[in-house]
């Protein structure tokens, strides 16, 4: 059955949208990723205008991050002070990101922005994941434990001023790195429709050297904060949030995530991680294809 999306201004098969929400939710439950980096391009492939896809995906991210954040909060695994500092950077980043979004959308370049930012991002993530899962699978075949990566000691980070104590993370570091990380991830969030967990988590572990047990919860708080503020700004300044689309995606997302979490407890992760890596690379290839292939009609219309 078709349903009309008031902001995207198009009719869609709601069952397809629900399926996308379910599928991406399942993957996020399984791997603990937000899934925005898959959902946005999928919506664009389906024909949702890039701007609406980017702005609306953040509602899906909010919903699927909430249950994770609640679970982490119960385990006292959130460094709220760190999250707060990153949020300050995040608020500035959101403002800049939404402003950039408006400029690029007005210039009719939102499709280009999505393609140009997603191709390298998905290419790198997919490549790293593929590489890691192949290594792990090989190591398992030999019977060895996979090699661990140790945090690098970044001396320059400890030389920065404005140091503060983060009790929960057992850290005494400058607030500048978390501010900058929060800012950059929020800019990406606003113009790409991603939560940015896959950037936040490694940055917090390897750059800030936060203990891994508080990283997930703290990054989820930051992601939810940025997603909520971005949704509000996109709704008020760009009118790009489609509540109908958001409702279907969120419904699919939260249900899918629960199945993903259950499946993750039973399934062997490495083969699935390999599949996810291939899926991510396929999406990147499809976007790249769209950039390189001559369009069937070079003219397009907007404003009706």
């Amino acid at each position: 059955m078709e349903i009309y999306l008031p902001i995207a201004d198009m009719s869609v098969q709601w069952i397809v949208i629900l399926g996308m929400g379910l599928g991406v939710g399942f993957l996020s439950g399984l791997f603990g990723v937000g899934g925005g980096f898959l959902l946005t391009p999928l919506l664009v492939f389906y024909g949702i205008p890039s701007g609406v896809a980017v702005a609306t995906t953040l509602s899906h991210i909010t919903a699927s991050s909430i249950s994770g954040a609640i679970a982490q909060w119960k385990k006292h695994a959130i460094d709220f002070k760190m999250a707060g500092v990153m949020m300050v950077g995040g608020l500035a980043g959101t403002g800049v990101g939404v402003w950039l979004f408006a400029i690029m959308r007005h210039a009719g370049q939102m499709d280009l922005v999505v393609s140009l930012t997603y191709v390298p991002m998905l290419g790198i993530i997919g490549g790293i994941m593929l590489n890691e899962s192949i290594k792990t699978l090989k190591a398992q075949a030999r019977g060895n434990a996979p090699a661990r990566i140790y945090p690098v000691n970044h001396v320059w980070i400890h030389g920065l001023p404005l140091k503060a104590r983060f009790r929960q993370s057992r850290l005494y570091i400058s607030v500048i790195p978390p501010l900058v990380i929060g800012f950059l991830v929020a800019v990406m969030s606003a113009i790409m429709g991603i939560g940015g967990g896959f950037i936040l988590v490694p940055a917090m572990i390897y750059l800030l050297r936060m203990p891994t047990n508080v990283v997930i919860g703290t990054s989820l708080v930051q992601i939810i904060g940025v997603a909520v503020v971005t949704t509000l700004l996109q709704a008020t300044s760009n009118y790009a949030v489609d509540i109908m689309l958001a409702a279907i995606l969120v419904l699919g997302g939260v249900v899918g995530a629960q199945f993903g979490v259950r499946a993750g407890a039973k399934l062997r992760g490495e083969q699935l991680r390999l599949l996810l890596a291939l899926l991510v690379l396929a999406v990147a290839a499809r976007l790249l294809w769209g950039l390189l292939l001559p369009p069937s009609d070079v003219y397009s219309l907007a404003g009706l």
Binding site: I3, Y4, L5, P6, I7, S11, S59, H60, T62, A63, S64, S65, I66, S67, I70, A71, A107, G108, Q109, D111, L112, V228, T231, L232, L233, Q234, A235, T236, Y239, V241, I243, M244, A246, A247, V250, L251, V254, V255, A257, Q258, V261, R262, L291, L292, L293, P294, P295, D297, V298, Y299, S300, L301, A302, G303, L304
Partner: protein
């Protein structure tokens, strides 16, 4: 159907000041409400041309009369973008803003337009898709290819159409045309224009307004998003938070 048409026509004839005109016309519906399950509908434009009047010169009655029905939607500002290959990738490069083009245009006529009147006469009355020109153009280039692209796209999406032979005469005087109103039309005031041609010139014309409005949940959501955008954003965020929270309550993991 015929009697309904005739009686409606009589009503129009009574209410509208038609004395002294050779053309009377009406529309089957003057308000169309587009609801969420709207998939398009038809309206009927009907009318009558007066028969041979007593003061007509002998032989004049032999000359064919032609009727052209034009339905024009509210004006829109259309941006046409053209992709070009820049550094190996296809990006939107040039654009033209065409303002004052109708958002919807339908034409039905008794015969092909070229047989009815010469191009300059048609252009003067805005008859025919090719005669549609923007009021103002903002473009760095010759806008003609952009205009042609806009016409082509709008014809593909059925927002512009032209049907020679779409006006049928039910009798010597009574005519009728079906006007398709597809889903996706702009809301606002439409204008139904009926032209009567004889000797390649317009001898009578009549215009009737038609209103198209969108109703239902989607319209309310659209208004909500534009008029109270902060509350709308807040509602979206709350929905996401509540659904995420509910799911963690409902599917509590047995750990």
């Amino acid at each position: 159907m015929r009697t309904v048409l005739l009686s409606t026509l009589l009503l129009v004839a009574v209410t509208a000041p038609v004395r002294g005109q050779e053309l009377v016309s009406g529309v089957s519906q003057d308000l169309i409400q587009i609801t969420s399950n709207y998939t398009g509908s038809d309206i009927v434009v009907f009318g009558a041309v007066e028969g041979q009047t007593q003061n007509q010169a002998p032989g004049a009655a032999r000359k064919p009369k032609d009727v052209v029905v034009v339905v024009r939607g509210p004006d829109a500002d259309i941006t046409v973008r053209r992709r070009d290959r820049v550094a190996g990738i296809w990006i939107n490069h040039d654009a033209a803003d065409l303002s004052g083009m109708p958002s919807y245009y339908f034409l039905a006529s008794t015969r092909p337009l070229s047989a009815i009147a010469p191009a300059d006469v048609l252009a003067r009355y805005g008859i025919g898709i090719q005669s549609l020109k923007p009021d103002a153009v903002h473009s760095h280039h010759d806008y003609e290819p952009f205009r042609q692209a806009a016409l082509r796209h709008l014809e593909q999406s059925k927002l512009y159409s032209q049907v020679p032979g779409g006006v049928e005469f039910l009798s010597a005087t009574l005519f009728r045309a079906h006007v398709p109103v597809p889903a996706g039309v702009t809301r606002g005031q439409y204008n139904v224009e009926v032209f009567l041609f004889r000797d390649k010139a317009v001898i009578s014309a009549q215009s009737t307004p038609l209103f198209i409005d969108q109703t239902g949940l989607e319209r309310r959501l659209y208004n909500f998003a534009h008029n109270q955008s902060f509350d709308y954003g807040l509602a979206t965020v709350l929905m996401a938070i509540v659904m995420g929270w509910m799911s963690s309550l409902l599917f509590r993991r047995p750990v």
